[in-house]
């Protein structure tokens, strides 16, 4: 695990919990996503997730599907995503994880990709179409190539069987991305009331920090989850807020002002 990612879980969070944000690289442009990454980091986000756009995002709801379409029509690529991270690293030390479907990364060439990712300052990956047990080959290959500089963040679902959770519990670093419910990203499906029972049930089996994501968009959800987990992920709600601004056709100066309100709203979630 990178020192940057390690540091997040070695210290107490500012506010009620650690906050993980998600935006899509290149939505609507490279320059704007860079500015937003910096803004998020400056407003107390603990870990940044940066989406790599893909034409067929089967685990995503309408909000992130639309973000991927916008990024792709603006000619975003894997290479440009890595350049974006490199640019961000010149000014910020906040840990950053790439969230990507497998195919664009495989097509880039995995060995070249992990080397370039380390050089750009990426701290790890969340790969929604690589379940933990299928990922052994890729993890081994990555470790041989770049050591333990890049973390593979495991996902835990409500449907996960004990044997899967056991496999993940062998992991000694990073954190587990716990899905609040079955389904795709976005706020269209409510988080069930029993989510706290589920997260509590992982207390013994999962030794690494547990961060919860999917469908989180309100302060009261964050407060409730903060008591039982180590961090929360806000994705679609944030992408939607920025997309709304982008559709208004504002002058750049006004857009920047409005973005600050989004940053402040996000920061307020963990107060």
């Amino acid at each position: 695990m990178s020192e940057r990612l390690k540091a997040v879980f070695q210290t107490k969070p500012a506010g009620v919990t650690r906050l993980i944000s998600y935006i899509m690289a290149g939505d609507p442009t490279i320059e704007v996503s860079l500015r937003r990454l910096r803004g998020l980091a400056d407003h107390g986000v603990d870990i940044l997730e940066l989406g790599v756009p893909f034409s067929d995002p089967m685990a995503d709801g309408v909000v992130i599907q639309a973000a991927a379409e916008r990024a792709l029509s603006a000619q975003m690529t894997v290479k440009k995503t890595l350049e974006l991270v490199q640019e961000f690293r010149k000014t910020h030390n906040t840990p950053l994880l790439l969230m990507s479907y497998l195919n664009p990364l495989l097509h880039y060439g995995w060995d070249r990709f992990v080397e370039d990712a380390v050089e750009a300052g990426v701290d790890g990956f969340i790969l929604p179409d690589l379940p933990w047990r299928e990922g052994q080959g890729l993890r081994t290959r990555t470790e041989k190539s770049v050591g333990n500089k890049l973390s593979f963040i495991p996902m835990i679902a409500q449907t996960s069987r004990e044997q899967d959770i056991e496999a993940v519990s062998q992991v000694t670093e990073g954190f587990a991305y716990v899905l609040s419910r079955n389904g795709i990203t976005g706020g269209e499906v409510e988080i069930p009331d029993n989510v706290s029972v589920f997260i509590e049930s992982l207390r013994d089996s999962l030794q690494i920090p547990r961060c919860v994501g999917f469908g989180i968009q309100k302060a009261e959800q964050v407060r409730a989850l903060a008591k039982i987990c180590d961090g929360v992920v806000v994705g679609s709600a944030l992408v939607k807020a920025f997309a709304k601004l982008d559709q208004e056709g504002l002058e750049e100066k006004d857009l920047i002002e409005q973005e600050k309100e989004v940053f402040t709203w996000l920061a307020s979630l963990k107060q």
């Binding site: 195919n103 097509h107 060995d111 389904g183």
Partner: protein, 409 residues
């Protein structure tokens, strides 16, 4: 070089079952992993369950009308000059295509697993109709996802699904064809996984689907083998089948894989040309990658994005292919070729006029390749074409073609 670069997922050995050489696997969201394992377990149990097997066999005989005919197309063969052409008449099955073999098997599994709701994707609508049919027979609610473009060009099948009591949900993003219908069905499944059975239509997707669909469709190949031995006293020299995802092809190929003297030829949609986006010839023109849960050949651009495909035939208009076909290509056991829209349309007319049989535009691709191959073979050689479906659903597209319009793109 390509292999070195791309076969990285299997580095260090295969973690899960369901690989065909380096291809296959189950690259799906974690939420679906237990559902796929549950399906695999139910499938393995069904293989040992005599009453399940008996019910499936009886449905195929008494409901589908199997065995399907093994018909010598004499006038077609005569006109082409060369090999004798036989047609495996899957078009005569109940619902008009091979798809029903698979959906009856899967719906029996759904029933055995106690699932209360069935979802499916469809391209040409044949799998949607076959799923809706099996669901009507077993009183299960059925939702079919279909791309907007396919809803437009396969109106007859949309109507049939509705008559059978299914709900057809139109998918309006991406290319609005089969790949987008699969994305949407997967999103439904991951959301409603506990009560839902996903009836997958082709021998692609995550493990165990490529194996399950192949095994339910292998009845085509087993019958062909028996019929050929009985009628000809030998195995055929070549077997030709069209390939979208590849279920009718793997179904007829599979029992012949151990017989090297039988050539296996898969025919892909060559569309309007060889440039990116002009066709759906995945094995001929693609590269390996991951889509819809499997590592297999894909049509993709320079950045690993899936490209929009073109084919006059909705059932072949898919940028992926089943993983077992990728491996048959890699090992050289099967050959894969492509046939253009125009050649398929011409073959459709040819079969109508020589044999009085209207093939589906999908199957017309296989006929078109047989028409190219037959003259190069001798009169004592035999080609079997899997006539996977009938063409009633395609009459609108064919009408445009007959009127000389090029509006089929």
């Amino acid at each position: 070089m390509v292999k070195e670069k791309l076969h990285v997922l299997s580095d260090g050995g295969y973690e899960t079952k369901g690989h065909f050489g380096p291809y296959g696997g189950a690259y799906v969201p974690e939420t679906l992993v237990p559902a796929l394992r549950e399906l695999e377990e139910a499938y393995l149990r069904s293989g040992q369950d005599e009453s399940f097997q008996k019910e499936f066999r009886e449905l195929l005989q008494r409901y589908v009308g199997r065995p399907s005919l093994f018909y010598e197309a004499k006038r077609l063969s005569e006109q082409l000059g060369g090999a004798r052409i036989y047609l495996k008449r899957e078009d005569l099955n109940h619902t008009g295509a091979h798809k029903i073999n698979n959906t009856l098997g899967q719906i029996l599994l759904a029933k055995a697993m106690g699932k209360k709701r069935v979802i499916a994707e469809t391209g040409a609508g044949q799998h949607g109709v076959a799923t809706a049919t099996a669901c009507a027979l077993f009183a299960l609610p059925c939702i079919v996802y279909m791309g907007e473009e396919d809803v437009r060009r396969q109106k007859l099948n949309v109507l049939r699904m509705k008559l059978l009591g299914a709900e057809v949900r139109t998918v309006t993003h991406g290319s609005c064809t089969l790949k987008d219908a699969i994305n949407e069905a997967l999103r439904d499944w991951v959301t409603n996984v506990e009560e839902t059975f996903y009836c997958f239509g082709t021998a692609a997707g995550p493990h165990p689907y490529p194996t399950i669909v192949r095994d339910f469709q292998a009845v085509i190949g087993h019958e062909t083998r028996e019929q050929a031995l009985k009628e000809l006293g030998k195995l055929p020299d070549a077997i030709i089948a069209c390939i979208g995802g590849g279920s009718n092809a793997i179904g007829i190929f599979h029992p012949f894989i151990p017989d090297p003297e039988v050539r296996l030829i898969g025919v892909e949609a060559g569309g309007t040309g060889n440039k990116t986006g002009e066709n759906a010839a995945t094995l001929c023109l693609g590269e390996p990658g991951v889509l819809h849960g499997a590592y297999s050949y894909l049509l993709q651009d320079d950045d690993g994005q899936i490209v929009v495909t073109t084919s006059v035939s909705a059932g072949l208009d898919y940028p992926g292919v089943g993983p077992e076909h990728s491996n048959l290509k890699e090992t050289g056991r099967a050959d894969y070729v492509s046939i253009s829209d125009q050649e398929a349309l011409d073959a459709c007319s040819l079969l109508c006029q020589t044999e009085g049989i209207l093939p589906a535009l999908e199957s017309a691709h296989a006929i078109a390749y047989a028409a190219k191959l037959a003259p190069r073979l001798s009169k004592d050689q035999v080609i079997v074409v899997n006539l996977s479906g009938r063409g009633d659903k395609d009459v609108e597209t064919l009408a445009q073609y007959l009127e000389g319009g090029a509006d089929h793109e």
